[in-house]
């Protein structure tokens, strides 16, 4: 039965929010440092996505887990503070998904996945920041 308790360790109510908070802050700091050496729009996408994800993981998810923010239950009648729960639910959906979209786009631009392949010989000077 040992492995079941090991698997349940991560869903422990205290460990997971703290873990997510640390990871969210670390992600924001690392992305800030990565964005300093990137191009203008790459840095903007990266930092915007990391700030959204950092807010989502470091502030909003622990508040959800701690019960400070009520979870939205669709179709529940007479829920106390239903409008607030609905608003936070919408904020969670938008922040988490937009954050991953922006961060993924930023990393893809950083890896030059989105650049079109050169169809003719390049006449510009080579980019020296990314050898």
């Amino acid at each position: 039965m040992n492995y079941i308790s090991f698997l349940a360790l991560d869903s422990h109510e205290a460990v997971r929010p703290v873990f997510l908070m640390v990871l969210g802050v670390v992600l924001t700091i690392l992305t800030w440092r990565l964005a300093r050496t990137s191009g203008v729009w790459t840095a903007r996408f990266l930092v915007a996505g990391a700030l959204l994800l950092g807010f989502g993981y470091a502030v909003m998810m622990p508040l959800f887990e701690a019960g400070v923010i009520e979870r939205y239950v669709p179709g529940a009648q007479g829920q106390r503070g239903a409008a607030t729960a609905l608003a936070w639910h919408v904020v969670k959906i938008v922040v988490m998904n937009t954050g991953w979209l922006l961060f993924g786009t930023g990393i893809a631009m950083h890896a030059k996945s989105l650049d079109a392949p050169a169809s003719r010989p390049c006449t510009q000077s080579p980019n020296l920041t990314h050898p």
Binding site: D10, S11, T98
Partner: protein
């Protein structure tokens, strides 16, 4: 209700698709980074993105096919896995992405030094 709110609430697939597209871009870019720079950070980021995508697909699909019959047929260990595994995948996927980003960023600094 505000029509924008209604779209966000009822067309949940739309915003889930945004997140899935972002994670897919992240995974592809991470594989590319791993192949170009020979850094383990890219591999770690790709593994993390795959774990997050798996957990997302499970969470989207689970309400449609997980019921008491299925839980009974897979036994107590399987049932506890359905409870324990999605948070584990979500946390470990995010941790993999952050860890891979750290490794990649350190690799870039070492190369530029």
């Amino acid at each position: 209700m505000n029509p924008l709110l209604e779209v966000i609430l009822n067309q949940g697939l739309l915003f889930d698709a945004l997140g899935v597209i972002g994670l897919g871009l992240l995974g592809m870019a991470a594989v590319r980074l791993a192949r170009r720079n020979q850094s383990w950070g890219g591999t770690m980021m790709a593994v993390g993105a795959i774990a997050l995508l798996l957990a997302r697909f499970y969470l989207m699909l689970a309400p449609h096919f997980v019921d008491d019959d299925l839980l009974y047929s897979i036994g107590p260990i399987g049932a506890s896995l359905t409870i324990a595994l999605p948070p584990l995948l979500l946390s470990m996927g995010f941790a993999g992405i952050v860890w891979g980003l750290w490794g990649h960023e350190r690799r870039l600094r070492d190369e530029n030094r």
